[in-house]
Symmetry: D2
Subunit: 307 residues, 4 copies
């Protein structure tokens, strides 16, 4: 099952108070997304706390999501680790669990030359029949995938698409213009920024992978449809509403916890407050939101009409 | 078995041409180090290509090293992964295989607040009886462990020591002065820089974890003894000879492969040329040295009297 | 004369072969821009090689531009230096030469706390009657101006606007949504990215400060008008044509000269080829484009119908 | 008058409450340094708040220092600005005021290729008869001068020396070993780190440029002599005492002011408390230390026996 466009939320991974994967909550979260009409689900992305889950937990997440999705939409699996041999293990798990594609970043921890990054993606593609998507996330892996590299690998059939979480819209634009110039439209370009979906789609992006889509998937589905229909002014209004909602990710005190802990904590608090998941806990060593901060999340949900 | 000082090389992981762990070469490398009189062995560090090994390979490395060392010196195990739950799995493997201590970095990939980094080390220490060493390596994990944090965790018994690969000698000096001021001398401070061992030991560092110590362990053992004996001028001469030898890590063309691939490739080429390991291959996606570059390694070994 | 929106190119500074300001070419360049219908001119920006000009040359640039513009549009002056006292000197020069506003970055070289950056802008605003625009350019000054800081200073009347060269479109979007929410529409938000003008204006940006606008000002004026008229599809086509043209900035070999030298060299080569300026030389220590690289610029101009 | 080694403090620039250069206090500070037996004075370095002074003030500083020094030791002048043409203006001022040498960083603000950085130093050397020293300070200029570049320029007589404020001791060591290997001992290598003077001199550095030397020049002169005499243990004790004293630079609350403002404010507070300068104010936009923070400085001075 191919996945070229639309809304593919990077699904959160609900945990139990004992810090195990809460498979029932996860299944409910899948239903929450499917009910909204998403076009796919991306499990084990950064928003899915992939970096905080053991291999056994990761595989449990994939099984649970694939079961719950039951073939209604494609399931992409993050196969994210430091280097090729370790990523290949996660690719195997994605194959075993019946996922539709895998998503891999550039290597991290070890510093890698661009030629080695390219080699990495080639080796991964050789090792699997599943479509391979590149995940461009410099904030985590500390290198940027160039448009040249992506389009070269697209032209050779190594990559099926890219999830662009670089925040570099000029770079994204260059990629999209280059894709058109080389007739590579089957290469899927998805934006990972929940704040610029409408403008990224105006540039030609095929869809979005919005973390905030866990909290309000209906809005992202609406936004995607408005963009597809060329209703740009209404799309803009929907996007701006979501930007206001996104402020919930900043409730955490930056003198106390990290920006990413604050965002993940807020997504889970929101899902808990909305009744989708049983427990809002995030994985260690992330510190939890305080009660006041959770109230801040609540206020934002109320303001957005989600509570 | 405690490990407070001396030379503890971060042992390379020899691979077969099929990219499996070459356990016979690894055992020979252990003997090569022990014969030189090292004070410990650090398996699964950055130099050990830990980031490029699957979990099964990592455990195989630990078993092989522990077996080959056969209790003659302590074996430290790198327990390096993105976050606490994943690091804990590696700590379990270190326990299972009978290692003497574990070495963990700050979390990476996910951005983590200093308070969360501290929480990470506390959780790890709670989860094991093994001594826990912090590994300060900002070039890989993109955060620096402050002296304050290290000394606080030292005072509480959370950390047994630190391997400082930050390259920040003023910071290291502050740590050492602070350690003395607070009477925390049992907290072990080891330098990871193979180029400043003598001056770092003059500052008060207890020992070194030199990657180049794979290639010339005798020299690092001599250097360590000269420092311990206060023979600083002879120590300086030995250190400078090693700095010249270290130039072998720069044989790789920086327009073609990364600095870290060049260094790891050169260490393995040198071990191969010296007859210690069977095959100099490094793990993917690292690109290999060219024949000319290997000749450059050879020249350096000859110049240093090692061939 | 206020300047809120439209196309305000950051004008290049033509030099003579002896590396003095070529005032005749500069005046011709002003006419070239005015003839295209630009809404203002920004002198002494990064594209104007401000960082490479002595104070006397900077003032000569301002005099020449103000004279040549002759009141037809506002002239903004870059007042860019390391800290407040030095920037104030440039503000004085802007006043002396009759500029319409000044543009200042966060302090650089010295590391400055956000509270000190805010203090910097307050002190500058107190020191002049001219409207003050913030210039957000982290790639040069290594700090980012937050939306909170900008909107606070906007609300207090300290800042008249911002030129956003951060390349952070999600941040820009947050600024624009925040501006609307607080009713601060008189605060002008101009994008410094020549590659995303249409999408930035869809987000609500008031105009653009495109370096490439030196080479093809007519296209940026057309693009601006199409955006203002809501002709988004035609705007997109115009923008994409400019993205193809922008490739001329990448003619320089990155193993030989820097990206910024390549871009400035290409802008000047293009202006020289188009007959606007007499000499394409850039200021030292920038290295010049090779003849082959200039041919690459020529090809791009021909392809764009500009030669 | 040549300057190859010894203690050359980067002299602070005392200001009046009206933020003008306090020439009388500056002359007293010169005397304070000369009385301690320093080997030279470095005016207009980072510690001299060069980045915060107008050109007129910078020249006033040079005149005052040269007058007060009255030929007793060499005076080095920081000629620090964004690029070659601007730096040349500062070199002219150094010549006019009778300084003994000039100190220049790599270009900043504009991103510059290493080949352009090298060109920068060549052009500067061609433009003056004064000895030219490179100032390696990546924290401010965001590029690092490689040993290769420095030694090449040393061999050609372009550079007379380097002030290494990179904090990269392994790099410094490589430079020193390379200098010896190429017989370039007349090229002066001075460390800018006040915390590692003894170990840097053990490596072969010729002297130091310690900001803290403003506060306690006697100690740095003693330390330098102990190193020259090979009294390494006593040198270490002196260095460690200075490391404790250096803690005064950290009195500023990092949630309120920057690290560099805190350090400069503390140096000036200490000089004021010791009766050397009339007013401890730092230049805008730096925020001042609070009364409590100044008390912290006082405590450190008392503990060090300086009050």
């Amino acid at each position: 099952m191919e996945l070229r466009n639309g809304v593919i939320p990077p699904i959160c991974t609900p945990l139990t108070p004992e810090l195990e994967v809460d498979t029932r909550s996860l299944a409910r979260l899948v239903e929450h997304l499917l009910a909204a009409g998403v076009d796919g689900v991306f499990a084990l992305g950064s928003t899915g706390e992939m970096a905080f889950l053991t291999d056994a937990q990761r595989e449990q997440v994939l099984r649970t999501v694939v079961d719950a999705v039951a073939g209604q939409v494609p399931v992409l699996a993050g196969a994210i680790d430091t280097t090729t041999p370790r990523v290949r293990e996660h690719v195997r798990a994605a194959e075993r669990t019946g996922c539709s594609g895998v998503v891999a970043t550039a290597p991290f921890y070890a510093r890698t030359h661009p030629a080695e990054i390219e080699h990495h993606f080639r080796l991964l593609a050789e090792s699997t029949e599943l479509p391979l998507y590149a995940y461009d996330i410099p904030v985590s892996v500390h290198s940027k995938l160039s448009s040249e590299l992506l389009l070269r690998l697209a032209a050779e059939g190594v990559l099926a698409g890219v999830k662009d979480s670089s925040g570099d819209d000029a770079g994204l634009r260059g990629l999209l213009v280059g894709r058109k110039a080389r007739g590579l439209e089957s290469f899927s370009v998805l934006t990972g920024s929940e704040l610029t979906v409408d403008t990224n789609m105006r540039m030609g992006a095929d869809g979005s992978v919005p973390g905030l889509g866990n909290v309000d998937p209906d809005a992202y589905v609406r936004l995607n449809r408005l963009c597809a229909d060329g209703e740009w002014d209404r799309a803009k209004a929907e996007q701006e509403r979501l930007i206001e909602l996104f402020a919930l990710t900043a409730v955490g005190d930056p003198n106390r916890i990290g920006a990413s802990s604050s965002a993940l904590g807020a997504f889970k608090a929101a899902l808990h407050l909305r009744g989708v998941i049983d427990c809002p806990v995030t994985a260690p060593p992330q510190l939890p939101l305080t009660a006041d901060e959770v109230d801040g999340v609540k206020e934002r949900l109320v303001a957005a009409g989600l509570l």
